[in-house]
């Protein structure tokens, strides 16, 4: 790169780099959201079972 006279076209690499960064962050946030939703769902199930036990 030392002897080059013009700026190389590395736009595709930049796009790939930011796709990796933003894509991975989005996936991680989604995984937290989905795990949180599963906890909500299971909590509701446990609450329903507890209520059922109390009514017996």
């Amino acid at each position: 790169m030392i002897l080059q006279s013009t700026t190389p076209d590395t736009f595709a690499f930049m796009v790939l780099g930011y796709a990796v960064i933003l894509g991975t962050m989005a996936l991680y946030i989604l995984s937290i959201f989905l795990r949180d939703r599963r906890i909500d769902h299971e909590t509701r199930l446990v609450e329903a079972l507890e209520t059922e036990e109390q009514n017996k």
């Binding site: 590395t10 736009f11 690499f13 930049m14």
Partner: protein, 232 residues
């Protein structure tokens, strides 16, 4: 149900806004670097995600020390949450470094001290997550995690200092006079974009850590509830 705290909600929105502003700074505000072209813009977030990873491992070690002193399981939850974030961000750091290297050095991978130490650091913390799974007793698991997190942290300064102490082709942007391929002088706008990215990703770390810690707390509360429901 456990509603999300208002402060966490506000922090999440603020972090999202900061991230959009940071993207504006690195894509539009900062000038294109003359020698490398647009791929140099990866540097801003590449360093910032590395910063998050190392901050996460520091938080893990600190939480480990506090757990060993106090014996409160919430510090183990914090350590675990922090390791998970660190592993995700260091992985992104390694992959984006590889993409940059392909454009600038002409190769996806080379056995350079920085690349090797960063990969070893990542593997040490992946092992932390895997080994924890094998211990059933929560207190033993927490004690193991605390000790491992403290000793594992040794890999962080080694990784950080590897480009300053060893012969390397990795550029040293601060505190070094690197002349290797990929080193560059930062214009004021570049420096501002870089500092803003670091600030933004510090917010990203705190926000994610809070969300992940809250998830871990809820998971363990649910497990306890299930256990007591089964034992009745």
């Amino acid at each position: 149900m456990d509603p999300m705290p208002k402060t966490l909600k506000a922090l999440s929105w603020l972090t999202g806004a900061l991230l959009i502003a940071a993207l504006y700074m690195v894509w539009i505000y900062a000038p294109r670097e003359a020698v490398m072209g647009d791929v140099q813009r990866v540097f801003y977030f590449h360093v910032a995600v590395g910063w998050v990873g190392m901050l996460a491992f520091l938080a893990t070690a600190a939480a480990g020390v506090i757990y060993l002193l106090r014996g409160e399981l919430r510090w183990d939850r914090l350590a675990l949450s922090s390791v998970e974030i660190g592993v995700v961000f260091i992985l992104v750091n390694i992959v984006t470094g590889s993409i940059w290297a392909r454009a600038v050095w002409g190769t996806w991978w080379t056995w350079d001290p920085r690349l090797v130490t960063a990969t070893i650091m990542e593997l040490i913390y992946v092992a932390y997550l895997m080994l924890r799974q094998g211990i059933d007793d929560p207190n033993r698991r927490a004690r193991f995690g605390a000790v491992y997190g403290i000793f594992g942290f040794i890999s962080v300064p080694i990784t950080f200092l590897s480009i300053r102490l060893l012969r390397t082709i990795h550029p040293v942007v601060f505190g070094g006079e690197s002349t290797v391929d990929g080193s560059f002088n930062m214009e004021p706008e570049m420096l501002q974009a870089f500092m803003f990215s670091l600030l933004t990703f510090t917010f990203v770390f705190v926000t994610l850590l809070w969300h992940r810690f809250r998830l871990q707390t809820r998971t363990e509360q649910l497990e306890q509830r299930k256990m007591s429901a089964l034992s009745e």
